[in-house]
Amino acid sequence: MADPMRIRAQAAGDKATVRVLMAHEMESGQRKDSAGKNIPAWYISEVTASLNGKVVMTAEWGPSVSKNPFLEFAIKGAKAGDKVAISWIDNKGDKRSDEVAVS
């Protein structure tokens, strides 16, 4: 199973800023291994964010996103104690979900 994400959700004013680090190879499909064989593309293709169980944002990613991806966005009206959940699925069907409380 994929390693856990690191999610930080910090409330300030009328919003919470969410910063996410995901553990993923994000292999572009453009590289060759030492034997000269193409390394197949392997990347997170979809990301979903929810606040207290309601989806607030989805994203579709391609192989151009960097290894161990970082994502930052802000949820309006989120307060301390609210639950922010992030989940991703990659092009091999592997997936991961993690949740934090807004601080």
Partner: protein, 156 residues
């Protein structure tokens, strides 16, 4: 490969469903790919990405801001940001003009989130990068900046 593709597509459908449920429906880059046979992620230019998503021609606009460094110390990780002051934003995208896959990331925006995203992308060489916004009335606005990718370290 095919199995992966199917899984991906079925998941895309789920996401689309979620979006529908939350009252927003932007064009899905992966789903559009399935329908058109050549998706937004395979498109080779800004114009083609937008076309693959079924929108009209993009227009450069002051309502969109792109943040990117002038120089990247390493093309493996280039921090990009897109934000917009436009009303009714439903999608935002980050693109790298000279990458094999020009479209790096597409965000489906709901009224619950701000029209502002930061992510990090790979760049094979110096290139223009774009922040693109699609509004609810299907206007496509963009901002661009050139990022120089430098050779670093001992180079060995």
């Amino acid at each position: 490969m095919n199995a992966n593709r199917r899984q991906l597509l079925s998941h895309s459908a789920t996401v689309a469903g979620l979006l529908l449920a939350s009252g927003v429906l932007g064009k899905s880059a992966w789903a559009a790919g399935a329908a058109a046979g050549k998706g937004a992620f395979e498109a080779r230019s800004l114009a083609d990405v937008v076309k693959a998503l079924g929108y009209g021609a993009p227009v450069e606009s002051k309502d969109v801001t792109i943040t990117a460094p002038d120089i990247a110390e390493n093309g493996a990780v280039v921090p990009l940001g897109a934000s917009s002051t436009a009303a009714g934003v439903k999608q935002m995208m980050l693109l790298v003009e000279k990458n094999p896959s020009v479209l790096a990331a597409l965000f489906n925006v709901t009224p619950e989130v701000e029209s502002s995203f930061k992510a990090r992308v790979k760049m094979g060489q110096s290139s223009n990068v774009f922040a693109v916004v699609v509004t609810e009335d299907n206007k496509v606005l963009f901002a661009q900046k050139e990022v120089k990718v430098t050779l670093g370290g001992c180079g060995g």
